[in-house]
Amino acid sequence: MILCPHCGKENLPQATRCVHCGEDLEELFRIEGMEDNSALQEEPDISVADLLESFRNDSSPKDEETRSADSTGQAYVSDSGAESNAEMPAEEEEQAPEWLARIRKRAQQEEDAAGELTRKGNSLDAARSEDHRGRVDEEFANWIGRIRENARRENLLMPKPAINSAASEEGVPEWLRKVRELQPEAEDGEQFAEEPAEEPAVEEVEPEEEQGEAAAQDQAQETESVVEQTSPEEILGDTEPAAEAVSELEPEPEAESAGEKAQPADEEDSDSGDAEELPESAAAPQFAPVLEELGLAADGAALELDEKPASSEELSADLLLLRRQKENAQILMNLIGEEGRGIPPAKTQRVSGRGWYRLILGAFLLLVLAAVLVFVPEAKPKQIENPAPAVALKDVLDRLASGDKVLVVLEYQAATSPELEQIAAPVLRELETRGAELQFLTTHPNGLWLADALMRAAEIPTRETAFLAGGRLGVLAAALNSEGNSAVIPAGIEELQKYDLILLLEDSQTDIQNWIEQAGPWLSASKLGVLASSQNEALLLPYYDAGQLAGFAAGTLQGRVLAQALDQAPLTSAPSRAFQAGLLVMIAVILLGILSKAEADSSARHSKEPEA
C-alpha cells in the first residue's frame, strides 16, 4: 500500500492518482518487486475515515502485527532501490513503524502540516458528494474483503512461517529466488528478470480477477476438506499428489475467458502448446505484478507445479501457486503473443444436405432429355400460325429485293449461340438467296468468332465481321454519323440510314434497349428487326406494340415457324421433342411445388387446430 502525501490515505501500489483526493501519485509509482499486502489481511471492516483515525492515534496491540507487515511492505516500496533485509527479528515489532515515524517527523517540521493535511482531507471529503464517498468506501471494502479471503486461505494452508522479507542478499527479489528454487535448471530465467515488466492495463485483468475469486472461493472450501485428511508433511513432502488432488477438484478453467478474441479451438491448442514449453520460472518474474494484480500474492497461495522441484525439503510451502494462476498467466501470455498478428478468418459452418433435391431434379431432367434425344425420333414439323410480330417481320423480309443492304448485328453470348443460330440461320439463308447485301457487325468481342460459326450454320459464304466498340456510345455515334467516315465507325460500315433493314440478333435486354433507344430515334420508319432469345420476348412486346420495331421472332418455336413461312428448312440441331420433354418436366415440378406448399399449409393448420 502507498499513502497519498496529500490526503494521507492509502492507495493501491500501481495507482497513479489518489482514489480519495484525486491528486497525482506519480512520484510514488513503483512496479519492481512484489507488494506484500498480506499485512492488511486482518484489518476489520472499517471505513476510510476510521482508517485515518486509527493512523492518527497510537496503535493498539491488536494491530501491531498488521502494521509491521505493512511497514515491511511500505519499507520495501519506499526504498525503491535498496531491498530491506530479508529477516525481521520478532522483538523489533514493538517499535513504531518507520513510515509512521516519518509522518510524525514531517508533521513536526512543517508548522501544522499534519493539521493542514487532515483539514485538506476533511475539506475534500466534505466537498465530495455523499454517494461518491459511498462508492469509494464500497470499492475499498470489496478490495479489503478480497484480501481477507486470500489471507484466510493462506493461514489455513500453512503454519505461520516467518515472513521472508522481499529482498535477498544478492539483490535478487525474494519471490524470484523461491521460484528459482523450483526450477534451478531454467538458466534463462535471469534474462527475463532484467526485462522491465510492462504493466498490463488493469481493465484487461479485472474480469479474470473476479473469476479467479469465485474459483478461489470454491477451491478454498475444497482445500480445507483435503487438508483435514492429510497432515502438513504430506502436503509439503510430496506436493504433487496433494496438488493433483486440488487440481482434480478444481472446476475446469474457462479456456476462453477472453471472449471471442480467442482463436478457433484447433489453433489455440497449438498456440497454448507452445506456451507450455516455456519453462515455468521464465514466465513468473515477468508476470509477478500481474499475478499481484489478480489479487493472488505470489507468496500467499498454493502453486500447482508440473515439474518435480529439485528437492522437496528446500521447497517452501507458500509457493504452491493455484492452477488458476497458471491458467491466467497462460491466457495473458497468449494474448500478448497474439498482439498484432492477423486474426485467422472465422469459418461459417458448412451447411450440408441442402443440395440433394437440386441434384435429384437436375439428374432427372438430364435423364429425360438424354432418353428423348436417344430413343424418341424427331417429330415432323407441323404447320403453326405465326404470331403477329413474326408475321410482320416476314413481311419486311418479303419486301427486300436483290441488292438491298441488310446490316446483321450480332449481340449474343456464346451460351445462347445454339438458340440464336437455330432462329437466324434460316432467315440469313433466305436473304442470301434473295440477293440481299448482308454486312455483319458486332459490339461484343466474342461476336467476331460467333459470326463465323453462324455463317457456317447458315451455309452462306463467310465474310468479315466489323467490330463496333463502345456499346451504347458506339451505336449512338453510328446513328448520328452522316458523312460515312468516322473514327468511331469501323471501316466498311455505312450510315445506318442507308440500310434497308437492321437485323438485330440479341439475347440481352441492355443491348436491345441500346439499339431501340440510341439508334431508333434517328432512323425513319422503323428499320429494326429483331431475332431474339426466348428470354426477351416479354421485353420486345411493348416496343413492337409502340411501333419501335418492324417485327421480331423470339425463341426456337417462333424461329421454326418463321423459317416455315419463309420456306426454309429449320436447322437439324433443333430437336423439338426434347425441348417439349424439358418443358413438361418443369410443368410437373411447378405443380409439385404448389401441391407441396398446400400440403405444408394444411399440416401446419392441422397441428394448430388441436391446440386451439
Binding site: Y357, R358, L361, G362, F364, L365, L366, K382, Q383, I384, P387, A388, Q413, A414, A415, S417, N446, L448, W449, L450, D452, A453, E464, A469, G470, L473, G474, L476, A477, L480, N481, S482, S486, A487, V488, S534, A538, L539, L541, P542, D545, G555, L557, S576, Q580, G582, L583, L584, V585, M586, I587, V589, I590, L591, L592, G593, I594, S596, K597, D601
Partner: protein, 204 residues
C-alpha cells in the same frame, strides 16, 4: 476544390452531349469526337481492370495464398489467349477456333446448368415466397406459358384457341410496359442526379 473538379467534368461532359443531341447539326462533329474519347477511356478502364485482376492473382501465387492453384490456371490461360491473339492476330481463324472451342462449351454448359438449377428453384417458389397475389399469378402464368411454348395447342389449328393463345401471348406486354416505364423514370432521375453532381459514383 479537389471534390468539385470531378463534378464539373461530369456535368460538362453530360451537358455538352445533351446540348449536341438537342441542337443536332452544329455540334455533331464535336459530339462524335467526345463519344470517341469516351469509348477509348472505357476500353482503357477495362484493360486496367484486367491488369489489376492479373496482378491480384499474381500476388496470390507469390504469397501462396489459399486457392493459388486457380490463380495459376487463370493467369496461364490469360497469357495463352492474350499472347496468342497478339502473335497470330485477332482475326486468325485457327486462333478463333481455339477460343471458340473453350468458351463455347463452358458458356453453353453454364446456361444449361442454369436450366437444371431452375428446375430445383421452381419446386421452392411457393415455399419460400408464400401465397401472395404476385407469386400466385407468377406460378399460374408460368404454367400457362410453358403449355403455350410446347406448341401442341397451336398445332391443333383451332381458330378460337389460336386467337386466345395470341391474346394470352400479348397480355404480358402490359406488365412489361409498366416495368419499363417505372425503371425508365428511376434511371432518368439517377442520370439527372449524376449530371447535377448529387450522385457521385466515383467516390465521395
Amino acid at each position: 476544390m479537389k471534390k468539385t473538379i470531378p463534378i464539373l467534368v461530369a456535368a460538362a461532359a453530360a451537358l455538352f452531349i445533351l446540348a449536341a443531341l438537342i441542337l443536332g447539326e452544329p455540334l455533331a462533329g464535336w459530339l462524335e469526337i467526345v463519344l470517341n474519347w469516351a469509348v477509348i477511356v472505357a476500353s482503357a478502364a477495362l484493360l486496367v481492370a484486367i491488369a489489376t485482376l492479373i496482378l491480384t492473382h499474381l500476388r496470390n501465387i507469390v504469397r501462396g495464398k489459399r486457392g493459388f492453384i486457380f490463380s495459376i490456371i487463370l493467369i496461364s490461360t490469360f497469357l495463352v489467349s492474350f499472347i496468342g491473339a497478339l502473335v497470330l492476330g485477332v482475326d486468325n481463324s485457327a486462333y478463333l477456333r481455339w477460343v471458340a472451342a473453350i468458351q463455347l462449351p463452358l458458356e453453353t454448359s453454364l446456361l444449361g446448368l442454369a436450366a437444371l438449377v431452375m428446375t430445383a428453384a421452381a419446386l421452392q417458389i411457393f415455399r419460400s415466397r408464400g401465397w401472395s397475389l404476385l407469386t400466385l399469378t407468377f406460378g399460374i402464368s408460368a404454367l400457362v406459358f410453358l403449355v403455350i411454348s410446347l406448341g401442341l395447342l397451336q398445332a391443333l389449328n383451332i381458330p378460337v384457341l389460336t386467337t386466345v393463345i395470341n391474346y394470352l401471348q400479348r397480355l404480358p406486354m402490359i406488365g412489361a410496359r409498366g416495368l419499363l416505364i417505372g425503371i425508365g423514370i428511376g434511371a432518368l432521375l439517377m442520370g439527372l442526379r449524376v449530371v447535377l453532381g448529387l450522385e457521385r459514383p466515383w467516390g465521395e
